[in-house]
């Protein structure tokens, strides 16, 4: 296993997870439990690929994806903030509706089972090749590292990394973050400090939707090269797991994403590799590695983690 290639693969796999995890972080930190990440990713993926192929521009596609995610987020917000619905149910419903609706619209607009047309060059984001990559390619370790791990990512790859830093800054270094965290823990306190909890939560779920849209755009515009029905394939749930695993903290949650992605990359490379001489491990055992690793770390290292205290509880002014 080439560690450089493994790292590059880990990063690629981590990008949508990171976007979705950061997305979930905003929502949950504000006090909204979000199991609808999956559905918002899917909406973004569909809108992104559809618009990219119609407009011929990856950028326009990306904007469409972000908007689509954001709009679904706001709808989810109305249901769970204004109408005080059960957030678990709403998230589930969003996932189901998004799965059906993207396929439905895809068939209506593009036929072929809801798949959007294959995106061609220019409609997709290409890997960015950093200057001097070729020149230092021969330098051992540093050369390939520079060319394929540090460089060689798409613009969205860098955006994902940036989203971690930005999220960290927003949560810990801005007024908005301070209020957000407080709203997730004790909304009454925020309201009594003269800040509208509703507004904060709407903002949070909108940002969450936009980031999910970016995750979806990565899936369809960069990775898949088209939208396919249900292409998010459970990554929204993995992102949620990463978020909980990372204790709702940006840095740690991002690390959890890298861990999941890394385990996945390793898993893919270990399949069919005979261990202990000739004995071939069943594929399923190798495929189980990421899940087992998560469980072991969860039981051994992470222990009890306390999420936002008010998450999942609709805020009602003056309720006791």
């Amino acid at each position: 296993m080439d560690p450089i290639q493994l790292a590059a693969s880990t990063l690629r796999l981590a990008v949508p997870l990171i976007f979705a995890t950061m997305a979930g972080l905003y929502a949950e930190r504000s006090g909204l439990v979000d199991i609808g990440l999956e559905g918002k990713m899917l909406s973004g993926a569909f809108a992104g690929a559809a618009v990219a192929s119609l407009s011929g521009s990856a950028w326009v596609g990306l904007i469409a994806a972000i908007l689509a995610g954001g709009i679904v987020g706001l709808a989810q917000g109305v249901a769970s903030i204004a109408f005080r619905g059960n957030q678990l149910v709403i998230g589930l419903a969003i996932n189901i509706i998004a799965s059906g609706l993207t396929a439905f619209l895809g068939i209506a607009w593009f036929q072929r089972g809801g798949q959007t047309p294959q995106l061609i060059e220019g409609q997709r984001f290409e890997a960015i090749h950093l200057p001097l990559s070729a020149e230092i390619a021969q330098v051992p370790v540093v050369g390939p590292l520079y060319a394929t791990v540090i460089g060689g990512q798409t613009i969205l790859g860098y955006a994902a990394i940036a989203s971690i830093a930005i999220t960290w800054l927003v949560i810990y270094r801005t007024r908005f973050g301070l209020r957000l965290v407080a709203a997730g823990d004790k909304p009454e306190a925020v309201e009594s400090a003269g800040v509208s909890v509703f507004r904060l939560r709407y903002c949070a779920i909108f940002v969450c939707g936009c980031l999910c849209g970016m995750a979806g755009a990565y899936l369809s515009i960069v990775q898949g090269g088209a939208f396919y029905r249900d292409m998010s394939a459970g990554q929204g749930y993995m992102a949620l797991a990463a978020l909980i695993f990372g204790g709702w903290k940006p840095g740690r949650a991002a690390l959890a994403c890298l861990l999941f992605a890394g385990a996945d990359a390793v898993q893919g490379r270990l399949q069919g590799v005979p261990i202990f001489g000739q004995f071939e491990v069943p594929t399923q055992v190798v495929q189980a590695i990421p899940y087992l690793l998560t469980l072991i770390l969860l039981a051994g290292l992470v222990g009890r983690s306390h999420g936002p205290a008010a998450a999942g509880r609709p805020y009602v002014r003056g309720q006791r």
């Binding site: 290639q5 089972g113 294959q118 292409m231 490379r269 399949q271």
Partner: protein
């Protein structure tokens, strides 16, 4: 009576055998102007229900796609002895059922042989959907084919995932394929339903080669799709509809292999530039040898194991 087509759980547009079957039915519709009925399952419990509903409504013949239909068909076909049924990928031994089986292994062996001819790194890869017998069958035959033309070829294998979403996960497929390219493979055979397009995409992105499956997928990324292991499920459906219309429909088992042109490898303007005449001739020779029985293609399904090539 109009004919009917029942898809497997993957659904009509699975970019795989269901879609293939659909295209066969469409061809029938276009040529004859006769409409056909269809139904997409949501769960296993609907199989008998769907068969009965079609049979009761006089739909004839009723074609079902996929081996998972076999138990339900066996039951319902007995209840409606006057209706005609056809099943793809399984044998149901009843007087009113036509069983259409494809020798997928033969096709996989041939594309494997081509991969063996073309590999520069001496490593070929395989990405399957789920770890189920039919995919193991593909994998085994492919490996043997590659080893036939390049003895001692290195072979890597990946399965996409444990749940049915593995058939529809192009992003994972792409990553697995990129991983195989990193590990030295330069040609990858994808037998993973909708996931396949991700593997072909990886070939284009990594500037390597991949082999499509089911339909002729050579045109998806010209220059990067070496060939496709085709299976003419659509033809099977078309023929069964047509025969019923013409009154020549017969029950029994139809084995469609290389000889019957039920399976094969695709060669068109998209992948012609990748191949020399010599290579084409060699592959055609192997096809002939298999048809003639000079080459035995191993069957994982029959033996439950893949002998070392």
């Amino acid at each position: 009576a109009d004919p009917g087509l029942l898809y497997d759980l993957g659904g009509k547009f699975d970019r795989s055998f269901n879609e293939n079957a659909f295209s066969g039915a469409e061809r029938f519709k276009q040529e004859t102007g006769v409409n056909f009925l269809e139904f997409e399952l949501s769960n296993d419990a609907q199989r008998e229900q769907a068969l009965r509903t079609f049979a009761q409504n006089g739909v004839n013949p009723i074609a079902v796609v996929g081996f998972s239909w076999a138990p339900a068909l066996e039951k319902v076909a007995k209840e409606f002895p006057d209706a005609h049924f056809a099943i793809v990928d399984a044998t149901v031994d009843l007087p009113n059922v036509q069983s259409i089986e494809f020798k997928y292994g033969e096709g996989a062996f041939v594309v494997g042989a081509l991969a063996g001819l073309k590999t520069k790194t001496g490593t070929v890869g395989f990405v399957g959907g789920m770890d189920v017998p039919i995919i193991k069958d593909f994998a085994c035959a492919f490996h043997h084919g590659a080893a036939y033309t390049k003895p001692g070829v290195r072979y890597i294998e990946n399965m996409t995932g444990p749940t049915p979403s593995a058939w529809n996960d192009p992003t994972r497929g792409r990553e697995l394929a990129l991983g195989q390219y990193d590990r030295g493979a330069d040609i990858i055979f994808a037998a993973a339903g909708g996931t396949t397009v991700g593997i072909l995409q990886a070939a284009a992105d990594a500037d390597k080669l991949a082999i499509g499956v089911g339909l002729n997928q050579n045109s998806l990324h010209p220059g990067h799709v070496l060939t496709s292991a085709t299976a003419e499920v659509g033809l099977g459906i078309y023929l069964t509809f047509k025969e019923a219309q013409d009154g020549t429909w017969r029950p029994g088992v139809k084995q469609l292999g290389l000889a019957e042109k039920g399976v094969g490898w695709s060669l068109d303007e998209n992948n012609k530039p990748l191949l020399t005449d010599d290579e084409i001739a060699k592959v055609d020779g192997i096809v002939a040898d298999i048809i003639a029985g000079k080459i035995q293609v191993p069957s994982y399904i029959q033996t439950g194991a893949c002998p070392a090539p």
